[in-house]
Symmetry: C2
Subunit: 416 residues, 2 copies
């Protein structure tokens, strides 16, 4: 054990991101492997919120919509926050809009994609995606007369023919952590004349992508997972710049108007990606997210990805060594190839619910995804290799002691 502890400590000491954990509030003694569901509080956020509440709202009042002194103004927040996200997704300044929930962002861009391909009427969605993506696609299809086609998750392209306007895929599967080849699928779908939308909810902040390099079309992602923007933080949307002039979204509102304060009866869209805006931007959520994104200021995408893989590699290796399927009943369902792995590892077990609960009772927070997955996220800015080791130690103990079989958990364990 001491050899493993030394190795984990050495990996932490050698990481270029070793000091970044200090930028977060992580409760003492807690092993938090759920940053892929809710990122922890960045230390800069409370001060930013105090400035917002006391100086901007409390003192500046309505005038704070505009720049004044050191305050750059609320009007520009959706774009400013987008500019902080842009380097994490291979986008340029001014290309990312932030403001609605992920669901509403998906809705707007799916409708817009259908309008960019008026001669095609099929939306291809992947059935193991996060459910909202499918719900929204069905909602869009109903409104527009389009059709949802479910693809084979292992071969989405097989569903993409000349009727397909949009292939909408989640880059990293929220259940298994499996990752699609974003550039290859984008290129192949383009060859078939379809647009591609990437849901980056389980990527951005841990798995960098290069949307510009891949010549992707549309992307949407979450603000409260690896971006640490706080519960229900606004989502972001990227649209390839040359598509923006044709970006025709279905919920026109005053904040997407070229001249919002002219209060004109006809809607004239902004010329940039801010045309996705509808109502007044959610300033509290945007301000927290803006401050949270500061933790990425000096992080290179290469370091971020390397740190994430180093953590998940260690977890998989320790699971292989100490929790072989035959004795533990655990199966690593996350792909072992780096090119197909996001930033989480999921273990299948018939009592996954009980395992997750027993681990939480021991201070190791992962989460359960029905029916039988225990999911562990490795947010590379605050999770350490020593945390990975501790998590596996606790997991071994839970199984040895049968803690996961506590009758309190039985109702949701899938023991047959």
């Amino acid at each position: 054990m001491s050899g493993r502890a030394d190795e984990a400590a050495a990996l932490d000491a050698a990481s270029p991101l070793r000091t970044h954990r200090e930028r977060f509030v992580v409760p003492e003694g807690l092993v938090y492997l759920d940053g892929n569901s809710l990122g922890p509080l960045p230390r800069a956020v409370p001060a930013a919120m105090t400035r917002l509440l006391e100086d901007q709202w409390g003192t500046g009042l309505i005038g704070s919509w505009n720049a004044s002194g050191s305050h750059p103004g609320w009007m520009d927040l959706p774009r400013r926050v987008g500019d902080l996200i842009a380097p994490l997704i291979g986008a340029g300044a001014g290309e990312v809009h932030v403001g609605d929930s992920t669901s509403v962002s998906l809705f707007k861009t799916m409708v817009a994609a259908l309008r960019m391909r008026p001669d095609r009427r099929v939306l291809v969605v992947e059935p193991t995606t996060f459910p909202t993506d499918g719900y929204v696609a069905a909602g869009v299809a109903r409104l527009t007369g389009a059709e949802v086609r479910w693809c084979d998750p292992s071969d989405p392209l097989a569903a993409v023919d000349e009727d397909v306007a949009l292939l909408s895929l989640t880059h990293v599967d929220f259940r298994t952590g499996a990752m699609y080849d974003l550039p290859a699928l984008t290129a192949a779908a383009h060859e078939r004349g379809a647009l591609v939308q990437w849901d980056l909810c389980h990527s951005t902040g841990a798995v960098p992508v290069d949307l510009t390099g891949a010549e992707a079309d549309l992307a949407v992602g979450c603000g409260y997972k690896y971006l640490n923007g706080g519960p229900g933080a606004p989502a972001f949307t990227w649209v390839r710049p040359d598509l923006v002039p044709d970006l025709d979204q279905p919920v026109p509102g005053w904040m997407g108007h070229a001249r919002p304060f002219a209060l004109e009866r006809e809607h004239v869209s902004r010329t940039d990606v801010g045309r996705l805006a509808s109502g007044t931007p959610p300033v509290l959520g945007l301000t927290a997210l803006e401050a949270a994104l500061g933790v990425f200021a000096d992080v290179s995408p290469t370091d971020l990805r390397a740190a994430s893989l180093s953590l998940s590699d260690l977890f998989v290796r320790l699971a292989d060594e100490r929790l072989p399927p035959a004795s533990s009943g655990l199966e690593v369902v996350t792909p072992r190839e780096h090119s197909r792995r996001g930033s989480q590892v999921s273990l299948r077990h018939e009592s996954a619910y009980g395992i997750v609960q027993a681990l939480i009772a021991r201070g190791v927070v992962g989460d359960f995804r029905a029916p039988d997955l225990a999911r562990f996220g490795f947010a590379p800015l605050f999770v350490r290799h020593t945390d990975v080791l501790a998590a596996v130690d606790h997991l071994v103990a839970v199984l040895e002691n049968g803690e996961h079989l506590d009758p309190a958990y039985e109702v949701r364990n899938t023991v047959t």
Copy 2:
């Protein structure tokens, strides 16, 4: 002048709401008559945000979605906040949903209204409404094949015939402060078989309504004006309870699902008004709004309305006495009848922009609405009669000194 000052002070002293101003941060010396655009910071908000950031997010992390100790859990926030708004609009507990922007809320309910009247295809909108309402209606019409019909603002019913699915009206006009007769118009539209949607953005928190008593159908309102929820606060939506089973909104998401964590592929809507939810609720904005709504806890709708009218009555009377149109060039465009007046007074002047700017320079904050209106909001919980008097004193001085004609303002004054 002393007589007027004594009178204003006496009116303040006699108000049942005289102590409520203490619940807000209002900068010393500022006369803030723009609570109808951005309500001031309630004193309870910073502490609530600190609890959210430090205890719930920072310490409780993902577990804070559920109730724990004195924290009732984030999952239920949209409903809890709705329950605090309900008494201000004559709604019952569990009838109000809070979460999206006003624009997105209007979009969802307009589509839902069309689905409730499948044999009708016209949306009637009022051309002087806040522009977003018209933009959204046009967006909905384009998606659904419906038609937008602009009505005569002075007689909306004339546009309501057997083709009309929905009459969508703003209760209080954001420019003029004119108020519609909500119960009478609702009843008359119902006689013609149409549903009625009320935009309460410029009412709720200052002008109480009784949606239940009026048997209204749908209502949407703003969280950051008279409700003081902070910049970009989430909006609320009310749906008459017997319509909820037929409420079929166009952006189905996981948070409106009956079993969000079952992660099912088919969407099954919640049975309550929470079916309006799409994505994860904006917890920061909702938490601020929840704390802000505490200022209304012991306020009766009758007192609120009486206080509002007392303030606007005084403003109109002082304007009549001291700023007669012939010499001042000002025209009071807000109706003088209480039954037709919201909680603001708007003055028309060819140099309205300059007047508003000159007043701001003197510490009296109203706002300008193009092309020629100076708008003054009387939020009854923190505006005093002495503020009204001070505002008029400054207005008289601005005009006497010609401060509104400063060349810096000329570009937006409509002087011809």
